[in-house]
Symmetry: C2
Subunit: 321 residues, 2 copies
């Protein structure tokens, strides 16, 4: 019997911050103790063929969804995969890469399930995919913010002009609405970064974040933790709604306040906290800065992840032969 890992699925539109969040979580848990995979490489067509067909990679029809589902299932079952690799520079495919079986890792003298972080445009698209995750996250930044991020990234890392990126966003818009955005409904955690009044794009660390913690999640002690951290100010607020607890963190939270909250979450993790690697928490993908709302978002997802993994072990859902 292979080791079954803990499966974290992260979905969101292009530029929504998937890599920033998943890399942050992998760093927190220890990069070498985590398997981080982007599942955006299952395209049926290369860039030229897509242009000829007038289809975007956001469309499930443009992807081997059956193979994506198969690979996510195989990883969930503790098996290795040979993953296709799409090359954003050439617009075609590179040789596939071997992803080793996600074997358990040692933590505090015992074996615990390795965490597999799967991020992608369509990670939460089908029931078959969704059934494989223990925790599902959707990144839902303000649309203006997503565009700003996507332009910044595609210009810096993929060699496009801003005009090309904007045209690409517009062309993909119907597919974003049809295929990507509805995945939000299936997430346990929805993360929404949004701009405060008078927001300055040069200083993204001032962004606010709203984190919806859906009631599909186990009810953890986070409420108490948060209230303790923020008794008199309104910079961190937790509000109970019908389907979710909604946590608001404003970008101008003070360093002391944010660090106090980080420490509280840290302590709440108990023995697992030792495993966490706080270095670079809350760092942007381009390493241009750090943000407390980002750091707290990563930390809160990691907190749920560790707690849910513990529950899964206790319930025998994640077991070893």
């Amino acid at each position: 019997m292979p080791h079954r890992p803990f499966m974290l699925g992260i979905a969101g539109d292009s530029g929504a911050g998937k890599t920033t969040i998943s890399s942050g979580i992998a760093r927190l848990l220890g990069v070498e103790r985590t398997t981080q995979i982007c599942v955006d490489d299952y395209h049926k067509y290369d860039r030229k063929q897509r242009a000829a067909l007038g289809i975007t990679p956001l469309n499930p029809e443009c992807n081997y969804m059956d193979i994506m589902e198969q690979h996510v299932r195989l990883l969930a079952q503790g098996e290795p995969i040979l993953k296709p690799v799409y090359n954003h520079s050439t617009g075609t495919f590179d040789p596939p890469v071997y992803v080793p079986a996600p074997r358990a890792v040692e933590e505090g003298g015992r074996l615990v399930p390795r965490v597999v972080v799967l991020e992608g445009l369509l990670t939460l698209y089908s029931p078959e995919l969704r059934s494989r995750y223990h925790l599902k996250v959707y990144l839902n930044p303000e649309e203006e913010l997503r565009r700003e991020w996507k332009i910044k990234r595609d210009v810096a890392k993929r060699g496009y002009t801003p005009e090309q990126v904007v045209a690409d966003i517009e062309r993909r818009m119907p597919d974003s609405e049809a295929f990507i955005w509805p995945q939000k409904e299936h997430a346990d955690i929805v993360v929404r970064f949004y701009r405060p009044p008078g927001y300055d794009p040069e200083n993204p660390s001032t962004l606010n974040v709203r984190i919806a913690l859906r009631h599909s999640l186990p009810r953890l002690n986070l409420t108490e933790v948060l209230h303790l951290a923020d008794e008199e100010e309104a910079l961190i607020r937790l509000e109970a709604r019908k389907n979710a607890d909604v946590l608001d963190i404003t970008g101008n939270v003070s360093a002391e306040k944010a660090q106090a909250l980080e420490n509280l979450i840290w302590e709440a993790l108990g023995p697992h906290a030792e495993q966490f690697n706080p270095e670079l928490i809350g760092t942007f993908w381009d390493k241009a800065g750090q943000s407390y709302p980002l750091a707290l978002t990563q930390l809160i997802i990691a907190y749920y992840l560790v707690k849910m993994r513990e529950l899964a072990i206790q319930k025998g859902v994640l077991h070893y032969a």
Copy 2:
């Protein structure tokens, strides 16, 4: 529940005639009704890396055997795969190709399992691989003949000089002996082409063939069929041995005799014979000629395959939801 196919595994050393045999069988069964796959593409290293490491592709250590086993298992379970592709010209990897789920095909008004023909150097290497096939074939030509064939093919199709091919064969010799040849023991059918006295390489259709039909096979009426075809001459002989029935067919069998035998096997297949496509049977890979022993070898393998598939359907081993 996906459709489970009939799995035929064909192993043999480089140049042993795997593609000739498997293409012949696919043509007999109908190319569009068969899934033909070469599983020699699961290398861990490209040509440059192999040279640096001093490892040959015959060595299981040079291959992702776990992924090869996984893909063979997935096909046997009726699932699609995304198969890696090794490029013999560049010595590196091409984009992977999608192999659709091997769904059942219609035959005589009913659905029967599609035949998946898997050929490769290591097809029968591990117990896990062997457990997936319904019929296992090993190609074991006289070593001199294999070298002749490999030189001819690698010069014509892969752009090597004869000297390069000979050096390659020598370098691979220890691995051939260690990893490839022992697979013979696990086959149900072992095919050995060998040279008659005074053999002329320019006329390969005169080659003899010896086919060992191991007792792991169901005992079919082939004996009767063969005796009927060859009452007085010794050009086709069937000999019962301890572990196998051994069939000898000499290359100088007359056209009439060979065709009579072809027809008898054909008729013995009953309603399935309609599905067979006799065109190009016994054709060499380079289409340079045809050979009765080759034609009869392909036909006998196809005969066992159809009969065993029928048995598997009757026993409910290959069932559909």
